[in-house]
Symmetry: C2
Subunit: 302 residues, 2 copies
């Protein structure tokens, strides 16, 4: 099961040292989800060979420019490339006003349906065949949301050869996938374990967006397989981090530890840092399975 | 006299083949003017070591995204870098509404004065110590303006040693620079040629923005030293160019020839072209001193 995250931008605020503002693409089999869309995202997608056409859902965490200023360019390029399939856009309510004003200014009508869903309370905001996405309010200088992506998976997987040999009808597949037994036409009970095997557990990924250190997030991100938590600053900048509603390495790692996640990715680095190695060292001192989110790198959710 | 143009982006519409949307920086001694500001302009400025802090005036030709979507990021980055000096922004009237809505959405107050000047009729729109800038309406799918930058120069330059030896007072400097003679306190006439020498002629640069082939532009750009004219398409796409309010190589070169400019720079290449060499060949077939506008390259206005 391919479930992966590709980083397109890992920097905060002002681009620096060749690092770009925030954007990342989550891929699950054929489906692609774009999470935040800083300036230059479409250029980064071209550079790292991420296909614009496969993106079906876009999630914008908040209205700071480094998280959404690449969106208008991406949406209009998709239009110029004659996209027809719909895009679901999730973001703060004002986002759609900005998009509409810009479309009006350029006399542009997108050739595909752009379906906007304003963010609000914590809840499931999107669902596809393979994934559900929930929003999680986080504490930042302006309204801001994190997102949790959970793979949808039946507990049991059908064994094709057994299904054939027992001539199990389609109508009972779902029962079997949920763990039920099968009764044949002549009344015999075939136990579930003979017709199915356990799936690997469903995987999950959480994106903290920009947030102050907030222990309640450990509860909300409990047990996800991979957590991306912002670390705008190193640990010696804890006061500044708090004042600016951002987090440090130690704080991000503390959330990961308390949430019991499998892996922590850290990013959203301040423009003041050139060398990022200390970020990894500090995070690992609290939570061993920490890794830097590097642009152009793909991380597997496993 | 340093008067030069640095290309930051030379592509049209959708970024392609590593080429960026339109942006260029005109430099005249210490002054810097940004002309259009496609997505990623601040990243291109960093790459080519153009200092954001030196930009005093920004000119946006029209509201197609490939000409302005980098502006919001640039303006906010200037704010985050604690800029204090004012920026004069010239653009279509709707531009300031889009900026204000985006500032509101991010709860941002710029720490420097942003002075907006809506474009309108053809006229002088900006004047500094060293340059005057005029707007020129061009014909495109939406309202669009080109710009002409003219160096300001007095016809005559003072000869410092002579000014000292005759003890010429400051009050008459301007008269001398304009070609007048000097009468000493005791009534002697010192001819202008003894106190001054001729300046090199003032230089000029014109930017066509996006435009359909329009012969009236040859009159408006008459005699400029360097003309940037868009060439979205090669000559075999003349019909498509016309339908989309763009120009071909041959058409751009024809305007340059009729306007009697010294040098033609061509750019705004369509995303369908990878190899640009044919653009130069076709333009040169009509106007010999034609050159491709290449990203990261500086062209001298001379």
């Amino acid at each position: 099961m391919s479930f992966s995250l590709t980083i397109l931008g890992n920097n905060s605020a002002v681009p620096a040292f060749g690092r770009n503002p925030t954007a990342q693409v989550l891929q699950l089999q054929g489906e692609q989800f774009l999470i935040d869309c800083g300036e230059g995202t479409q250029l980064q997608m071209a550079k790292f060979k991420v296909k614009k056409s496969k993106i079906s859902h876009i999630f914008i965490s908040h209205m700071h420019g480094d998280h959404y200023l690449g969106l208008m360019g991406l949406l209009t390029s998709m239009g110029l490339l004659s996209r027809k399939s719909e895009i679901h856009l999730h973001g703060p309510a004002l986002l759609i006003d900005i998009i509409n004003l810009q479309l009006e200014a350029s006399h542009t009508e997108l050739p595909y349906p752009l379906i906007f869903h304003p963010l609000g309370d914590d809840r499931v905001i999107a669902e596809t065949e393979k994934i559900t996405v929930s929003s999680v309010r986080v504490k930042h200088g302006i309204e801001c949301w994190g997102f949790i992506f959970r793979e949808k998976k039946n507990p049991r997987r059908l064994l094709a050869d057994k299904i054939r040999s027992y001539q199990v009808p389609h109508a009972v597949f779902e029962t079997l996938q949920q763990g039920g037994d099968y009764m044949t036409e002549d009344g015999r009970i075939i136990p579930n374990t003979e017709l199915t095997e356990a799936h690997e557990p469903a995987k999950s990924y959480a994106y903290s967006a920009d947030t102050i250190f907030d222990l309640s997030l450990a509860e909300k991100f409990k047990g996800v397989d991979m957590l991306y938590h912002e670390t705008t600053y190193l640990k010696d900048q804890e006061t500044k981090a708090g004042e600016r509603f951002h987090s440090t390495t130690i704080q991000a790692a503390e959330i990961a530890k308390r949430a019991g996640v499998k892996k922590l990715l850290i990013g959203h680095f301040s423009s003041k840092y050139d060398d990022l190695r200390t970020f990894a060292i500090e995070a690992k001192s609290i939570f061993e399975n920490s890794e830097l989110a590097l642009e152009g790198t793909t991380y597997w959710v496993s």
